[in-house]
Amino acid sequence: MVKSQWVSKLAQALLVTTIMATASVATAAEEKKLSSVEEGKKLAFNKTKGNCIACHMIAGGKEPGEIGPPLMAMQARYPDRQKLFDKIWGKPGVELMPESQMLPFGKHKVLTDDEINKIVDFMYTL
């Protein structure tokens, strides 16, 4: 009994060490990316910021609206990151329909370019 406890303690310790080692191997850039995804998520759900959830179904968001299409499989559908950025920013020519209610977030200064980039990071996890 005593022996097997010790073995399991050792296993735990090893596990913890492995995790820590993996974490420390992660680059600073990847760490930044992680937090930027989190920030992008907050921006997308915040009523006074992106408020994307008001119009789009987004995984993890409560009370989604039904005005725009569900935002899913974004990386597969927008392999060109710039296209997704432009769509959210409101660059001319990226609207799907002329009377679209989709907001030109960058053009109208609702969001900064930095904030839109974070939202795109978050979108790429969907």
């Binding site: 959830i53 008001a54 119009c55 009370e63 989604p64 609206g65 039904e66 005005i67 002329p98 009377e99 209610q101 907001l103 030109p104 109208h108 200064k109 609702v110």
Partner: protein
């Protein structure tokens, strides 16, 4: 153009709306054709809806967003058994019958005279002699001024005016909306209203039409958006969230603020034209105000 108007139009671009002709082209403006197209659009989109087990008819658009949710409709019905606006009707009735300092009452003013049950249905109308749309709120104030009283503040800022409107709406229940466009001036007012309704505004770049035509019946966050047809039939409304009566002008201004636009001033040409346009489009629908809203 004043400063406020400039701010309002700062981000404006005209919504390309397939339902209406170019508002700047006099020859192609045909309000009756617009109205028929709007009815067709709304019936095509929502005519299959059932409320209380019955398919909706054109007149049901007067219930607003309730036609899209049986749950919301049943809830509304139970609130309406003891309507929270009754005290506002009573208060309005007292004010209506209370003589001014000169001994006269509202019913001595042209337009507010005759059968009290027919008054609200006369508004809005285009006054050819004055060259402007007259709304009921304004007629009440003009009657006050003509009798040496101070006018009330518009758009919910003075509860007395909201209560008077609530009383007159209740008296007028069952009348049909019948807005006439029979002069070039009236047509201009209609065109202005149509323009206000279809123009994108505010930092969020939205038009009334985008929400209340294209997206009517869809959820924005957890709220279902009402169709523009029938907007004018049930106002003023008692809003539980405000604990008070909300007038139509106040509601228009609220929606403008929600898209971060500077709202047109109360009783302005633009807001009156908007009401004129919305009312014309709802011609034939039954007046059913006041009502209750969350």
């Amino acid at each position: 153009m004043n400063n406020k108007l400039l701010t309002t139009t700062l981000f404006v671009s005209i919504a390309a709306c397939s339902l209406t002709a170019n508002a700047n082209d006099t020859k192609t403006v045909n309000p009756e054709a617009d109205r028929q197209a709007m009815i067709k659009h709304m019936m095509d989109m929502h005519g299959g809806n059932k409320i209380n087990g019955k398919p909706i008819a054109l007149d049901d658009f007067g219930m607003g967003a309730l036609i899209f949710s049986d749950d919301a409709y049943q809830q509304w019905k139970s609130v309406e058994e003891f309507p929270p606006y009754v005290e506002h009707i009573d208060e309005g009735e007292k004010l209506w019958n209370k003589p001014f300092a000169n001994g006269k009452t509202y019913s001595t003013c042209a337009g507010l005279d005759g059968d009290v049950k027919k008054i609200k249905a006369k508004y809005p109308y285009f006054d050819d002699a004055r060259g402007e749309v007259i709304i009921l709120d304004q007629a009440i104030n003009e009657c006050r001024v003509a009798n040496g009283e101070k006018p009330y503040a518009y758009a919910g800022k003075d509860k007395a005016l909201s209560n008077l409107l609530t009383y007159l709406a209740n008296e007028s229940r069952g009348n049909k909306i019948d807005v006439k466009i029979s002069s070039p001036g009236a047509l201009e007012a209609y065109k202005m209203g149509e323009m206000v309704f279809h123009t994108r505004r505010g930092q969020l770049n939205q038009s009334c039409a985008g929400c209340h035509v294209t997206s009517a019946g869809r959820k924005i966050r957890s709220e279902i958006i009402s169709p523009m047809l029938g907007h004018v039939t049930h106002f003023p409304v008692y809003r539980a969230s405000k604990g008070n009566i909300v007038t139509l002008q106040q509601r228009y201004q609220g929606c403008m603020r929600s898209v971060r636009a500077m709202p047109f001033p109360s009783n302005s040409k633009e807001l009156k034209a908007l009401e004129f346009y919305e009312a014309y489009m709802s011609n034939g629908l039954t007046l059913n105000g006041p009502t209750y809203r969350k």
